[in-house]
């Protein structure tokens, strides 16, 4: 049976995260992610949802889930206060200090669709299993 191996996936993901500070940006509803061309934060910065700012992720964790044969990426819940914005997805990226070298890792849709806080809190309750998982098969 062909398979990737969990530990190496975890190490690889940790290596990317170690390039800088993992962050999250709320994206405009008009943003359509391109897995190929959206390589660095400089490629997507113009599409950040107006009225939002990047959030430094806390409790960043990469975990091997042997039962599901995958490496999970999880963080603490995220929130911004007194925000007026419209967004339906967010990007996870690593801030190296230079936008052109800060890699974008993932773009993830909100399960609820479009969120539109008005001078309120914009929050993400992260899925119990994390933001994303890399399976080995």
């Amino acid at each position: 049976m062909s398979t990737l191996h969990l530990k190496s996936l975890e190490i690889a993901l940790d290596a990317v995260l170690a390039l800088g500070t993992p962050k999250l940006s709320f994206m405009a509803t008009t943003f359509t992610p391109n897995a190929g061309t959206d390589q660095y934060f400089s490629d997507i910065s113009a599409e950040v949802a107006s009225g939002t700012t990047a959030v430094t992720l806390a409790s960043v964790a990469t975990t091997i889930d042997t039962g599901n044969a995958r490496v999970e990426f999880d963080t603490a819940d995220v929130s911004l206060s007194t925000i007026t914005a419209t967004t339906n997805k967010y990007c996870i990226w690593v801030d190296t200090g230079v936008a052109a070298t800060s890699p974008v890792i993932a773009t993830i849709d909100f399960a609820e669709g479009t969120l539109g806080p008005v001078a309120g809190t914009l929050a993400i309750t992260v899925n119990a299993e994390g933001h994303f998982a890399l399976k080995v098969t």
């Binding site: 062909s2 398979t3 990737l4 995958r70 999970e72 007194t82 007026t84 419209t86 967010y90 993932a106 993830i108 849709d109 909100f110 399960a111 609820e112 969120l115 539109g116 806080p117 008005v118 001078a119 309120g120 809190t121 914009l122 929050a123 993400i124 309750t125 992260v126 899925n127 299993e129 994390g130 933001h131 994303f132 998982a133 890399l134 399976k135 080995v136 098969t137």
Partner: protein
Amino acid sequence: MALVVESTSQASVDNSASVTVTKPTGVEVGDLLLILSHGSATCTGFSTAYSANSLIVLYRIADSTDVSASNYSISHGGSTLSGAAAMLRVSGWVAGNPVYGSDSAPTVSQDLSDPVVFSETFTSARPSDNSLMIILASISSDSVSGSFSSYTVTSGESNPAWTEIIDVQIDTNTSASQAIFAAAYALTTNNSDISAWGVTGVGGTGGAADFFRANFVVINAPQSAQGTNALLSVSPTLFAPTGSAGAIGTNALLEVSPTIPTQSGKGISQTQWTSATKNTTTWTKTNKS
């Protein structure tokens, strides 16, 4: 928290440096105070929420000084340019510029007594379950009397009830020395998208053409939003290699023929010198004669 217009006030004066508006009743810390006026109106402690078409909305979040204040002085940038203004005391706001959507109608110039009907296509979402809409309008001329009416907003609901706060004529010492200033608001709990707004102004004839202007502002009640994510699960694509099993491989002799380039050369023949064989004859010395 829902927006509520708790109280309003208004004032007007001719050819003055400023207009003094009595504070709306019952101001409490945290209230949103709005000043609706014309031209380049300013008031100490207030920030510009929206300005276009020589019509302006100023805002301030009330603190203890507002609770104790009696009135507000609004200037229009000149010694005789004031002026008219209306104030709203709004509860339910939290912080920052409250204007969510705004629009300004193209200026209409005419010297007729016919009504000028502003009917502006404008799209604005209303994400909250209640919103405050404001229309400001003015006519400027050197000889005009008039007023505004028929405030409207088009959305998924019927036009809500509008409260006109001010509709006055003032004299200002400018080339357009007379002006009508009007402002009205409507509160609604409908959150359907807005698609148009309008107001009707009636001026007069005589002198230079009159300039009709109107602005529209939407303030949505504060609301938070919380989302969740479905786990993004990524599976790899493992490319199956081709291979064989249980066979003994052989190789055919790889025979390589060299390529030997033709060489050009030059040879020089040397004269072969050989030692002469020494004569073995025995020579006898003869005497000299």
